[in-house]
Amino acid sequence: MKRVAELFDALYFTQSHKSKSHLLREYLATAPDPERGYVIAMLAGELNFKYFKRNTIKQLMLERVDETLFALSYDYIGEMSETVAHLWPSLPDEDFVAPLFDEVVEFVQSHNKADIDTFLVRCLNNFSPSIRWSFIKIGTGGLRVGLSARRLKQVLAEYGNCDVAEIEQLWHGISPPYLELFAWLEGRSEKPDIRDKIVFHPVMLAHPLLADDIAKIDLSQYIAEYKYDGIRIQVVNKPLGKALFSRTGDDISHSFPDVLPLLDTYGVFDAELLAFDKAGDISTFNQLQQRLNKKKPSRQLQNDIPCGLVIYDVLEHNGEDVTQKPLFERQSLLRELYAVSRERVQLSNTFSINDVEALHSQREQACLIQDGLVEGLMLKKADSPYIPGRPKGIWYKFKRDPKLVDAVVMYAQRGHGKRSSFYSDFTFGLWTDVAGETRLLPIGKAYSGFTDAELKELDKWVRKHTIGRFGPVKEVEKTLVFEVAFDGAHGSNRHKSGVALRFPRVNRIRWDKPAIEADTLSEFKRSFLS
């Protein structure tokens, strides 16, 4: 455990990516299997245990510490593992032998809850705070050491002297502790074969189309499509089975049992998952929202709001990888495969755009399609292959402008992780009349959109203008206005105001604007809820 804890500590505090990569490769070259494989899995966020989770640790901690003191500590530190690492009372026993990292992983994978609790307590009693931190992270996840999944794969590629694309392709077909991967990277065996497996293939992502991009790109080389306001998914359909994956690679098949039977063509496809209405037409995002985060949707719900797909790309067909073919060829393959129309499965329409003027007018028209069903245009370079990741200059999304509202800051809370020392989570509201009195009602929360300098200023402002506290939440003077950008609004029973925002973020801090001139709830409802 100690070797791994030292590695995590070093990775956490090392500044440059180069040094991080160096540290990790040095570790891979010296550490044994299966430890190093589990370490990679943990860094990639792929370790998950039924009986060792954030809440397991929290409960064990609460059996040992005053609840108020725990809450205040957690609020201050902003992170569970570190809070517990320091709060846990040290109770070393003489015959304790520290387990190796992989022994910890294998123990919590293979024992029952009671045994695991006993094991965790004994380890925590004996470890030092810094080892405790790494140890707790095994269960809580979220070990952020500044190595993204992408960068981690790059380190593996450097370690094995291969192309990162090869690692990306293999990634979802192999599992911890990755013995066959290391064997291949170290030249001890052939590359693992994952062709028949029902696995996620890394997806290609788009950049936002900015003003200077518009000036730069040659529109005649791009193919346009609607950008539907649904969720991006990947359909994998092979003779051995089929599955739906989210864009991050989570298998979400169980949430959409009504979509799986719609797939009858073998291959791997990129698609947008959308709600459909009874007539078989695409419905709104608000409808789709009622299907999201439902692990097992009821029959009734599947019936009321059936889901379906708009397919727009193909990565593999009949066991053949087609990602290297240019987009226009992949699109004509799709047209062949989906020549016959199917229930709730549509092919994305493609069209060309002649000039900048048409680009803007097409976007405007697209966004007029019922109730925000289309949130803009996609532009994709016709001759480009399918490249996982977010390559530059190939795919663009040209979304409608965000909606804006001026709202008053009401409450503030410390952020978590990197921002734990700042007040960075803000609740804001709009004016409304309640029984003849003008009051603010909260409509949402924002955590993002600030520069570091703004965060500092806001933090200072909160400290100076606090008028009350509710645990970790500070109530502030109602004098500061945020211009909040958001992608959409819908009715909600969760808030007293009756509205909720999609993806709210702070566009500007209006230090200059008197709070009384912020927007009212009734204006807001008139403009954004129809």
Binding site: D66, T68, L69, L72, S73, Y76, W133, K418, S420, S421
Partner: protein, 344 residues
Amino acid sequence: MLTNTNHPDTWLEPRKEGLYCVPADAYIDAMQPHTRVIVTHGHADHARGGHGTVWATSPTLDIMRIRYGDAHATKTRALEYGQRINIGIVEPVYLTFHPAGHILGSAQVLLEYRDARVVITGDYKRTPDPSCVPFTAIPCDVFITEATFALPVFKHPTLISQIDRLLTSLSRFPGRCHLIGVYALGKCQRVLLGLRAAGYTKPIYVHGAMLKLIELYTEHGFDFGSIIPVTEVTDKHTLRGHIVLAPPSALHDRWSRRLPDVLTVGASGWMQVRARAKQKGVELPLVISDHCDWEELLESIQEVNPCEVWVTHGREDALIHACQQLGYTARALRLIGYDEDSES
């Protein structure tokens, strides 16, 4: 004994300029100029220039002279630890300083009025510090304690253990210049003495802003061995594998860019919070604090065993909660002006 006529509520007032003692017409650690001020220690969030009469220990007055010039106050009264004087206007108010163990010259303030005894700790700690006189617990009715690190997550390790980590890093990365961010007053000298006590004999290099205060400590009898200003080093590459001390503000500015392959080291109680250390760009966080940690605070309160605990200067909620559970009457004394997140 506290009664209706001598309870400190009736004669100590938290004002926006600082804590005010009515029958002595004096502030403790006033943030704005005032005619009569008691100063606990030389850190800038306690000692300011421009006062009339200042009562302080003589090292604290020396520090104030260095920081604010000879004319920092119209009149100064240097007191020894344990020396008791009357500063009352009509009725007697007795003032005595006792060691606080925070930095050179740091003092707790004992005020006695009509048989009520109040101790104002200023900043204090209980872990051994070779650069100052250790804290002594003074019996009193009301104990006004700081709460900079008043959460049970704060457990300060020993100075030696942290110096060890620094020396280990030096031998693991012999090509890297170890740049340590330290406050010029107190932390700097404590780290220097810690290094010498651990047997580190090489010259230690310092930022120019450190020199005057190091010199002052030397005048007070401390021996730091060979200290060399970085400005006197012509070939900065010779600083590889050496220790350089600089104020935290200089860690990432132009000044430090002249140093070769810097490994940034932090030295403060906050370094225990990973996210904070990382935010400050620190690669080796040393937890060296000049304040009490949680256990030290609770132990001190129980040792002093006052009737009431007033908590200021930090994370009051947790300490008040813990005091109440121990059976003490406790409450927050909110003073403005202290920077709740700095550590001086």
